[in-house]
């Protein structure tokens, strides 16, 4: 114990000294075009919790790849050769995210913060970005609030959101013939939002929601709802579930137990990541449809990048890794075009910008609400028998064009000013 305490106090004393040494000055160098003579990209995300596999430390690697590619592309013409990547773990705690974000902007001179999964943490950091007038590109969080009522001039939302997930799956599956739906959703904000978007999308595509039920959260017994499904009149074609994480795993296990697929009821999932399929194995989810923001094995462009990523990290990239790469790259490109890292100039470079990169196809950074819209994909999980290589889990059924995939800018209630 004594040694632990000593080590602890030594660590504390050291960190206190270090912080004191940093002084309380803001970012220096007023006239320089690049503040502090360097560009600092900070990745603030979950490196140990639920989102660690989806994004985590490997997203930091992805951002480093972007920096290296940017330097290679521009050589001496780059706006600055001094580009740094730093990172911090917010442990999915919004208070830590909030303090760390302030510290990253103030003390570590971060010019942009990337990623930030967990919606409460994501929104807290958005408020910091707004107060500090510094850029923030959210990738990991799903809440549409970031580009809705809580949007602000310095916050961008990059990869996906609840609307895109629900709308994409709801309309695409309905168009493919799944007309009658039974929806179960966890009874909290995320689930309720997803349910609303789903219902709207299904209705707009000519389908009907026969019944919808809120479920407790967290929950490990979904048999009530699974038993109800086949007894509904008329019998639904699709069971739409908005559960996530461990609850989704429970639900899928029980869906298979009650053999609903054999009874003609397919499963569609609101929020699913490739890491979920990987951890449980494709057979658990085989035949399930969901919307993915990006899939590594979609085409050669993706595969090439994925191979480079795999060489560094020994794992296949999720959409979040690719999005972190892409967001970092687009940020640096904007700085290059603006010739400065001053926030307001970079924001005006980003707003309305149209591009097409490895991650974001047919992309536009919407000026009205800072939602980055791009093509997304309706995917089906392959059965194990069709899986040919590691992580080859998805069959892309349909590309959902950027304009259809995301919530219209006018619908979110965002006013930037």
């Amino acid at each position: 114990m004594r040694t632990t305490t000593r080590a602890l106090s030594a660590a504390l004393a050291a960190s206190a000294l270090l912080l004191a040494a940093c002084g309380r000055g803001g970012p220096g160098g007023g006239d320089a075009k690049i503040s502090g003579d360097k560009i600092v990209l900070a990745v603030l995300n979950d490196q140990s919790g639920v989102y660690a596999d989806l994004s985590g430390k490997n997203s930091v690697e992805a951002v480093k790849m972007a920096v290296a590619d940017f330097k290679a592309k521009y050589g001496d013409k780059a706006v600055s050769s001094n580009i740094e990547v730093i990172s911090a773990d917010h442990q999915n705690k919004p208070d830590i995210a909030n303090s760390k974000a302030q510290e990253l902007y103030d003390r570590q001179q971060a010019d942009v913060i990337l990623d930030v999964p967990t919606s409460s943490a994501a929104l807290a950091v958005a408020n910091v970005a707004k107060a500090k007038k510094k850029l923030y590109v959210n990738i990991g969080a799903a809440t549409t609030e970031l580009t809705g009522k809580q949007c602000n001039k310095y916050t961008f939302h990059y990869a996906y959101d609840t609307y895109m997930l629900a709308h994409g799956t709801g309309s695409a599956v309905t168009k493919q013939g799944g007309k009658k739906w039974y929806i179960v959703y966890p009874d909290y904000a995320f689930g309720q939002d997803m349910q609303k978007s789903f219902t709207a999308a299904i209705g707009a595509s000519g389908g009907t929601v026969i019944a919808k039920d809120p479920t407790p959260f967290p929950n490990d017994n979904f048999s009530t709802f699974l038993l109800k499904a086949p007894s509904l009149k008329p019998k639904p074609d699709v069971l739409g579930t908005m559960q996530a994480g461990g609850d989704l795993v429970n639900l899928v296990k029980q869906y298979n137990e009650f053999k609903l697929r054999d009874q003609g009821i397919k499963l569609s999932v609101g929020l699913m990541f490739i890491t979920d399929i990987h951890s449980l194995g494709p057979d658990a989810f085989a035949g399930t449809t969901f919307t993915d923001a990006w899939y590594w094995n979609f085409d050669d462009r993706n595969r090439q990048w994925a191979d480079r990523f795999t060489a560094k990290t020994q794992t296949r990239p999720s959409f979040a890794h690719a999005a972190n790469y892409s967001a970092a790259m687009q940020y640096l490109e904007a700085v290059q075009r603006a010739g400065t890292d001053a926030s307001d100039d970079v924001v005006s470079e980003l707003e309305g910008y149209q591009y097409d990169d490895m991650f974001a196809r047919n992309a536009t950074i919407r000026a009205q609400d800072h939602r980055v819209i791009h093509d997304v994909y309706l995917a089906e999980v392959k059965p194990k028998s069709e899986v040919t290589t590691d992580w080859d889990y998805e069959k892309i059924l349909r590309t959902i064009p950027a304009a259809e995939a995301f919530r219209p800018a006018s619908a979110g209630g965002c006013s930037l000013s």
């Binding site: 114990m1 660590a11 140990s48 208070d95 303090s99 409460s120 929104l123 807290a124």
Partner: protein, 346 residues
């Protein structure tokens, strides 16, 4: 009960106490110069929370494992008041504390009828209920998005700089700690200690034990609420994290680490845990539970008097050595066992 840790060190002499108080105040004032101001503010708010919890654990002998209910309720309440009324933030914080106290009345009424370990389990369960309510009551709490964008209003002053805000919030923390100090040293506080040490005797003398416990519970909840409300204002949001059981656990950890029954120890424990979390978030080491859990287990096993308690014992040993009397044997002597508390007839 917890008492065995407490009575073995003589209270420090008056000049020592004044010196301690002066040092403590100075440190509180200098904190944002030494460490990053938002972290300093966290230390201050958690210190108040831990000290308020210690009023129950250390001075009343009740382990509450559900104080997040009060901290979190106050955080949401203070946030809602600040957002919707535009009143100065101390009013919002006081409003949060008031609601936390109000919530503590029914919960406390049900909990204080049970003592010991039962009390810990029941408080934990009630806090979980508050968590589920907060999660479902989305219109009010924002669900898992949290209640965001809480302003810091104070007569039009610009408090956006966390360095400035620290000094605006510190008086609230000091006020809370002063309240605790007064409670502990009041006749009421002495009755609490008597109840902690021997509830049956206190009852026999004629004190309405349950009513005293309930009052202590409500006071502790109110002061936890004061801390929780300030926490929400300082971060600009309140989230479900604030009502989750891990928050209760974190506060308990601070109290035990610093030393049960020592208000100074709670502050020390808060400083350590907050700094440790902050340090681990950029260290690249992802086993925060492993570190805090191990430290905690070791403290409970070997170091039950906590850091402050240990410091007090050392101080007492030094004093004893200086004194003409033969020195007392060793600083570790007191903390050891007492037979299991017999199940007293009620």
């Amino acid at each position: 009960m917890i008492r065995m840790l407490l009575r073995h060190t003589e209270p420090a002499s008056r000049p020592v106490r004044s010196l301690l108080l002066a040092t403590g105040l100075l440190l509180a004032l200098a904190l944002p110069w030494l460490i990053y101001p938002p972290v300093a503010m966290d230390i201050a708010t958690w210190a108040l929370f831990a000290a308020a919890l210690d009023l129950l654990l250390g001075y009343t002998g009740l382990l509450s494992f559900g104080h997040a209910a009060f901290w979190g309720t106050a955080a949401y309440t203070a946030g809602l008041i600040a957002i919707h009324s535009g009143l100065p933030f101390p009013v919002a914080v006081l409003g949060g504390a008031a609601l936390a106290a109000a919530l503590a009345v029914p919960i406390g009424y049900l909990c204080v009828r049970n003592a010991g370990i039962y009390f810990a389990m029941v408080t934990l369960a009630f806090a979980q209920m508050i968590y589920f309510v907060a999660n479902q009551w989305r219109d009010l709490t924002g669900g898992e998005n949290g209640l965001q964008g809480i302003p810091r209003e104070l007569f039009g002053l610009d408090l956006s700089d966390p360095f400035v805000f620290y000094y605006a919030g510190l008086p609230i923390v000091l006020f809370g700690l002063f309240c605790l100090w007064r409670i502990v040293h009041s006749p009421f506080g002495h009755v609490l200690v008597a109840i902690r040490d021997n509830p049956a005797r206190a009852q026999a003398i004629g004190y309405p034990v349950e009513r005293y416990k309930l009052l202590a519970f409500v006071l502790s909840a109110a002061l936890s609420g004061l801390a929780g409300g300030l926490f929400a204002i300082s971060h600009g949001f309140a989230s479900l994290q604030e009502v989750y059981w891990t928050t209760s656990g974190k506060a308990v950890m601070m109290v035990v680490l610093g030393g049960i029954g020592t208000l100074w120890g709670s502050a020390l424990g808060a400083a350590l845990v907050v700094q440790l979390e902050d340090y681990l978030s950029t260290s690249g080491f992802d086993g925060i539970g492993l570190v805090t859990g191990t430290v905690f287990v070791l403290v409970v096993l070997l170091f039950r008097q906590g850091l402050w308690g240990a410091a007090r014992q050392v101080a007492a040993a030094v004093r004893a050595r200086r004194a003409p009397r033969p020195p007392t044997p060793a600083p570790r002597a007191p903390a050891e066992p007492m037979p299991a508390p017999s199940t007293l007839p009620r």
